[in-house]
C-alpha cells in the first residue's frame, strides 16, 4: 500500500489512540486510588456523551462549553457514586469488598445503560461537532472533527498529566495510589482523595464520550465496546499506570488498524477487529499481568 495511505492509517490510529487513552485514563486513576476496576466505566462515558448532546444540542450551548459542562456533570456524578457505593467498602461496612466492587459497578452499568435507554430511547443522535470539514496534513487527508476531538483529547490528557505531577491534589492522588495507609498517616484525607479520584475518572470518561459523540454518534449502548478497549489499554499499560495507559492506548490504536490491513480476507478481518485487542488483553493477563509498564504487585 502507498505511503500516503499508510500514513493516513497511522494518523487514524493515533487519533483513535488518543480517544482510547482518554477513555482509559479515568479507569487507571480509579484503579490506582481505589483499587477497583470500574465496570461501569463505559456507561459513564455514555452518560458524558448524552450530557454533551443535551447541553450542546437541545440547550444550544457552544460545543466547548458543552464539553466543560459534561466534564463537570460527570465529575459530580462520579463523586456521588463513590460516596454512596464505593466508600462503604473502605469503611468496613461490606463483607467481601473485592467481590462487592465488581458486582456493584456491574450493577451500576446495568442501571445507567437502561436508565438512558428508558429516557432517550435506543436511537442514535448526532450532537454538534467541534469542527467540520476535512483537514490536510501535508499529503494526508483526515476528517476535521476527528482531528479536533483528538487534539482536544490530547490537551485534556496533557492537563491531566500536569495536574498529577505538579499540583497538590495530583500529588495526593499519587500518594494514595501508592500506599493509602501511609498517605492517611501523613495527613492526606484518603477518603476525600478517593471521592475526587472517582469523580475525576468519571469526568475523563464523560469527556471522552462527549468528544467522541459527534464522531461516532450518541446512543445508550455506545459505551459497551469502548470500555472493553479501555480495559485492554489499561491492562496493557499496567493497571494504575498513567503513562502506561497512554502508551497502551497508542499501541492498541495501531494494532487494530494494522491488523485489519494486514489480514488478507478483508470482511472477516474487519469483523474480528474488536477481537484483536481482546486477544491482547487475555495474553497480557495470562502472561504478564502487571502489563507492559506496570509493577509486579503481589498476586491475589
Amino acid at each position: 500500500m502507498s505511503t500516503v495511505a499508510l500514513g493516513e492509517q497511522v494518523l487514524n490510529g493515533l487519533i483513535i489512540g488518543a480517544f482510547y487513552a482518554l477513555a482509559a485514563l479515568g479507569l487507571s486513576i480509579i484503579f490506582g486510588v481505589l483499587k477497583i476496576v470500574n465496570f461501569a466505566h463505559g456507561e459513564l462515558y455514555m452518560v458524558g456523551g448524552f450530557a454533551y448532546y443535551v447541553v450542546a444540542g437541545a440547550l444550544g450551548l457552544a460545543p466547548p462549553l458543552a464539553l466543560i459542562a459534561a466534564f463537570v456533570l460527570l465529575f459530580l456524578l462520579g463523586m456521588a457514586i463513590e460516596w454512596l457505593l464505593i466508600r462503604p467498602m473502605h469503611e468496613g461496612k461490606v463483607e467481601r469488598p473485592d467481590e462487592y466492587a465488581i458486582m456493584i459497578t456491574f450493577g451500576l452499568a446495568i442501571l445507567l445503560q437502561n436508565l438512558m435507554l428508558s429516557v432517550f430511547g435506543p436511537w442514535t443522535r448526532r450532537p454538534p461537532a467541534l469542527f467540520r470539514g476535512r483537514v490536510e496534513v501535508g499529503e494526508l487527508v483526515v476528517s476535521g472533527d476527528r482531528l479536533a476531538a483528538a487534539a482536544l483529547g490530547g490537551l485534556l490528557i496533557a492537563l491531566l498529566v500536569y495536574l498529577l505531577r505538579a499540583t497538590l491534589a495530583g500529588k495526593a492522588i499519587r500518594a494514595v495510589s501508592q500506599d493509602r495507609e501511609t498517605a492517611a498517616v501523613v495527613g492526606i484525607d484518603d477518603r476525600l482523595v478517593g471521592m475526587l479520584a472517582f469523580g475525576l475518572g468519571s469526568a475523563l470518561a464523560g469527556a471522552a464520550g462527549a468528544l467522541m459523540g459527534p464522531v461516532f454518534l450518541v446512543y445508550p449502548t455506545m459505551g459497551v465496546i469502548p470500555v472493553i478497549k479501555a480495559y485492554v489499554v489499561v491492562v496493557l499499560g499496567g493497571l494504575g499506570s498513567v503513562p502506561g495507559a497512554i502508551l497502551g492506548a497508542l499501541l492498541l490504536g495501531q494494532v487494530e488498524n494494522l491488523a485489519t490491513v494486514l489480514i488478507p480476507d478483508t470482511t472477516r478481518a474487519v469483523a474480528y477487529k474488536d477481537a484483536y485487542g481482546l486477544v491482547l488483553l487475555v495474553l497480557v493477563l495470562l502472561l504478564r499481568p502487571q502489563g507492559l509498564f506496570g509493577e509486579r504487585t503481589r498476586s491475589l
Binding site: 456493584i104 437502561n114 435507554l117 472493553i228 474488536d274 477481537a275 487475555v282 493477563l285
Partner: protein
Amino acid sequence: MRRHRAALAGAFLLVVLLVLPLAGLGAYWTYILAIGFYYAILSSSWSLLVGYVGRISFAHAAFAGLGAYTSALASTGLGWPIALTIPLGVVVAALVGLVIGRLCLDLHGAYLGLTTIAFSEILRIAITAEYDVTRGSLGLAAPLLFTGDSRLPHYYTLLAALLAALGLMWLVLRSRIGLFFNAIREDEEAAASVGVRVARWKLVAFTLSSALAGLAGGLYAHVLQLVAPSMMSIGEMGFILSMAVIGGFHNIFYAALGGILLEVVLEALRQIGEWRLTLFGLVVIVILRYSPNGVFGTLARGLGLERGPR
C-alpha cells in the same frame, strides 16, 4: 426441625410449579415460566461459582451460547437427533470451560472478571464473524424440541433439567467438595496449607458450572427455535448476574428462584418497557449494598428456614 421446614417449603414450591400449567396457567405464561427455568439453571450454576467458590466469571452467558450453537449446528448442519446434540453442547461447553478455567487458575477478582469478559466477547465476535457457518447476527434456526402446539413438554423438560441441575449441584455442595469450595472462597492459601487441592476444585467448579450453562443453552435453542449471538452478550450476563444477586447468590436455590422470579417480573412489567431493566439495576445495587442475602435469602431467614452460621 428447621431442615424439615426448608424441605417442606421447597416441596410446596415444586408442587406448585408442577401443577400450574395444568391448572389453567395459559400457554403464554407457561412459556414464560419455561424461559424462567432456563435462566434459573444459569443463575444457579453461576452462583455455584460466585457464592460457593468465590470466583466471579463473566463468561457464563457465553457458555450457554456455546451449548446452544453446538446443538443447533449439529442438529441442522449434521442432521443429528436433538437427544444427541444437546449432550454434545454440554460436552463442548464443559471442555471450553475446562480450558478457560485452567488458563484462569491464578487470576482473581477483577483480573478474572476482565479475562472472562474478554473470552466471552472473543467467542461472541467469532460466532458473529463466521457468517457462513452461523449466519452471524441474523441467528441460526434450530428445530423444535417437541413438535405440536402444546408448550407443556417444553415446560416440563426445562423444569426437569432445572431440577437435575440443582440436584447435581446440591449433591456436590453438601459433600466434602462443597466444604473445600467454601474453604477456597474464604482463604485459598490457608486451604492449600491444610491439604485442599485448590487448583483441582477450582477446575471442577468451573467445568461443572459451564457444563450446566451449556445444557441450559442447548435446551433454550430448541425451545426458542433460534440462536443468536445476543444470547452470549454482556447484556445477557447482566441478566444472569441480576437474577442471581436479587435471588441470593450465596445459595443455588435462591439464585434459581431469582431467575424464575425475574423472568416473570420482566414479562409482567412489559408495559413499562426499558424501565424494567433500570429497576433491576437499581434493585441489584440496593441488595448488594444493604441486603446481600438477596430476596429469597432474606425471606428464608425471616421465615426461620435457615440453619448454620450465616
